[in-house]
Symmetry: D3
């Protein structure tokens, strides 16, 4: 590091995180990705009212659709932010040696989350959930934990 | 409920959530509570510089302490918000019948999170984590899942 | 901790607020509830363009409707947050003894605010405003003030 | 655009608000200003620990002081934002004719709120509260209402 | 100024900013204004699906339109906030003497940004960009710099 | 979904941004980095009051220092967010071929911004500004523009 003073050496050793607090968990990104998927499910299940439908039905549709799109957008953004935190704050050079594709994995994940904002696409949403799972697997492996999310289906619901 | 109109009956049945998206997980409140605890640990481990310590050391101390307090505050607030979402959006009248202390449990949890803002108190922080665990147990029981958080210690770190 | 006395007892005495700053006012929730009502009024007054209307008219409609829905959503959320602050930060055990329905009142108010997000429903919006007024009445009674909001109609406008 | 009439004229007539929702109330700025004042009171009442005080006392002091300063900052910012909304969204050219000092009044109020961030100064905090009251008086006069805030003292508390 | 106490005189001299940090740049408002303009361009270029178009196309349209409107709204708000910061934090009494129309310029700019929220209007968007440029010219003139934004067209893109 | 073509290929062509709006500018990250540097300058220039200094002076010091640290933190976070947007939203595979160190450059920049949160270190702050300048150079080169920031010194001020 660029600072020769002795007391900063300590910070170079431990500066793996912004606080550093050391508490990370990809589950936050996972829940956000599942929420994106659920919104796609909800949007696709929403019947478009006929053009001669009562105005109340058209308003209810517009209200609901606008809210689904906003939640999809917000949770895709949460997913992007959480992935960035894992990528730049948690992962360190020694992890990069063990996982040389780390940068590419995160870059593609961020772009995939962006595509989920732009589209209403169940395949892209499922891919986002699967991508976060792969990242979670890498994350927990660096802590010698075998990753699993046994309640993923119950959490997602119907 | 207070609306006699027939079309709201439908909404009364399904309105368990604001979207409703149906995706809830107390793990978000748990991570926030653990972060509060970690900040208390960090603050208590931070050596107060002697009054004749070099000015650089005093600035580093002030910078670090201010950041720890802010993160403690923010995560206690996240904890409060997530608990409110569980309480008012997820839990429904039938849950209240099964868990008649539900309101009291959440009320005390919110107040406990507030006390963690006001103090630097390891006992209060540990109690907050334990309280969120008790709420998580109730939450998952309503979904017929036995709650456990096997990686809680690894997540908390050192 | 620095206080050797039974800490729960001490905190119960002082923990009436997060700072504690002691400044609360249900008027913030009231204004939010009135804004929700105004958005419902605006949405219902907005003429749906005919399917063969000029594209400019359709865009203007979509722009306006999306904005009304977003403002309705945001102010329902502000209402929920402000009610949570009153419930968990201001009200104390002695208030609960005097108002044993306090938890139920707030729980239903939060759920009602959620329904106002989900629907475009003037009856639900009016009920939200009335509910916040009832809570304001309780709040000010604990301070020996008879609640009134004489400018509510002028504030709401046309 | 969908309106063929001279658009400037049309907008001047209707553009009194961003939605336009028409709901404004300076009470939000007033509560924020009172909170700033309360924080100054709290900060000034907080005893600085002696340099040989126990470390727990020094940490409690630092935690509390940092939180008071943050709340002061945030509510001064809320005050600035609310004043800007009144100034640019509510007040219209006809108001400016009746109150030719309107711009100066708001400009000074914004700068005064900024000084309350920069300092711990009871006189400046009291002046901010009084300034918001003067603005509220003007605001309500445009609606033919005589402004009063009868519960200001009770709200402020002790 | 309203404070006769001597130690505030110092602050009166330097209180040109909230920190005071002294770093301001109208480019942030400019980028926000250009983003508003781009959203108007995008919205106007978006083909409204025929009423008998496939439901996927209608959903994609609704998703995209809702996102454009939201981004337009958010960046118009950023523009308003940035302009307020320049107006009330940067500009000082001596600038007002040199630019006596300063208040009017900013007031109209804030209202124009509000109109860009309310409408989908290319002329209003272009006027907002031009207005921010005029303010930037004044800003930099107070620092003896001739304002130019040579990459404005490249930034805006296609 | 509405596109039957191999979706990855299609998206690679268009997914250059989340909206996509196409408006990016590293100047936002640059201003944030300069603000971090200014806060370090301010913190280091702030005289620590003697332990027997008047309590008003100690409070003023604590108020100012807490605010500088908060602004440093917030703008380092803005810098991180803006860099992430450039990295994952703007830069595309063809840029990566031309700049094979792109991932490493951004990763190190994010970590450097994190270190600026953790420390009060003028060398680290200057390095952050220089790093953003290098990224800006790459960014503008992809648009065939030679980057310069001629007013950087005036913007930074004294």
């Amino acid at each position: 590091m660029r600072n020769p003073l002795p007391w900063l050496k300590l910070h170079r050793a431990e500066a793996h995180c912004d606080i550093p607090c050391g508490i990370y968990d990809p589950i936050t990104a996972k829940i956000a990705a599942q929420t994106v998927q659920k919104m796609v499910l909800r949007i696709q299940a929403l019947a478009v009212p006929a053009s001669n439908a009562p105005v109340e039905e058209q308003r209810a549709y517009a209200n609901t659709l606008a809210r689904y799109v906003t939640v999809k957008e917000e949770h895709a953004e949460i997913c992007k932010k959480e992935l960035r935190i894992l990528w730049s704050d948690y992962f360190r050079p020694e992890h990069l040696q063990r996982y040389p594709d780390l940068h590419t994995t995160f870059w593609n994940a961020e772009k995939l989350a962006g595509r989920n904002k732009q589209n209403v696409d169940m395949a892209a949403a499922q891919e986002l959930v699967a991508t976060v799972d792969r990242i979670a697997q890498i994350f927990w492996a660096t802590k010698n934990v075998t990753y699993s999310d046994p309640n993923a289906t119950v959490r997602y619901g119907t």
